[in-house]
């Protein structure tokens, strides 16, 4: 079994604001991340897939196929957007990078078979660095 990881980048803005909390509570909880006009990050995202070596190609994952899936399901959706206004999922959920990582994982998993129809490779994990110092990771057992 081999794990293959590909790194991508996208830039988006977000505002951390929980609808169920008051303005004062939001300001206290999220601090500068609650700025009403939002703010942005250059997200660096690593997608890992794993599987056995496929004898014909000597590879476990076709990186071009993974690129297509990520382009369609992640970059086209999130790159250069305001997550709060432009992503349906973040109308309800706060676009923390925890929730973003889960959303990316779910989107990739939902379309995985269109690009990887066989039993292998499988999606292994999604790791997002919101900044080089804040990093969030979701794998298949995280539910």
């Amino acid at each position: 079994m081999i794990r293959v990881t590909r790194r991508y980048r996208f830039s988006s803005s977000h505002r951390l604001h929980a609808n169920r909390l008051s303005d004062a509570e939001n300001a206290s909880l999220y601090g500068k991340c609650n700025n009403p006009y939002g703010h942005g990050h250059d997200y660096e995202i690593e997608i890992s897939a794993r599987g056995p070596l496929e004898p014909r190609s000597g590879r476990a994952v076709d990186p071009a196929a993974l690129d297509r899936l990520v382009e369609e399901q992640v970059l086209r959706t999130f790159d250069h957007t305001y997550l709060n206004s432009e992503s349906a999922i973040f109308q309800e959920l706060v676009p923390t990078t925890e929730n973003l990582a889960r959303a990316v994982y779910t989107r990739l998993q939902a379309s995985w078979n269109s690009v990887f129809p066989g039993p292998w490779p499988v999606l292994d994990k999604v790791r997002i660095a919101e900044t080089p110092r804040n990093i969030f990771e979701v794998s298949e057992n995280d539910g």
Partner: protein
Amino acid sequence: MLITKRVEFSASHVCRNPQLSDHENQELFGMAANPHGHGHNYVVDITLEGEPDPVTGMVLDLKKLKDVVNREVITSYDHRFLNYEVPPFDRVVPTPENIAIDIWKRLQPQLAKDGGRLHAVRIYETPDLFVDYFGEAA
């Protein structure tokens, strides 16, 4: 406990399965199938697993690890055209997956002599593409 030594080498390769036609190779590997080859600055992370020795405080002497990696891998790989100069890549496509497996096979028996337990080989073909191999058992 895990300890990791990072090493680098630069090499050229071509991704081509000789049992397939030129067209099939092009379909499968894209630009990487260019028969003249192309190169990368590979970065390799060698990770060992173990407990620190009560006397030395070390899992394995990193200098000894570096010597083994240099002798078994880097002197063979660095500044070479892998397909032509470094077996088994005369018959095994030098994808990063296969390079990671070959590095594991070269290192594992040598490290075992010094009581080292290899945990993982990670190889970065570029900063944006890397593979992890944990041995046949994993």
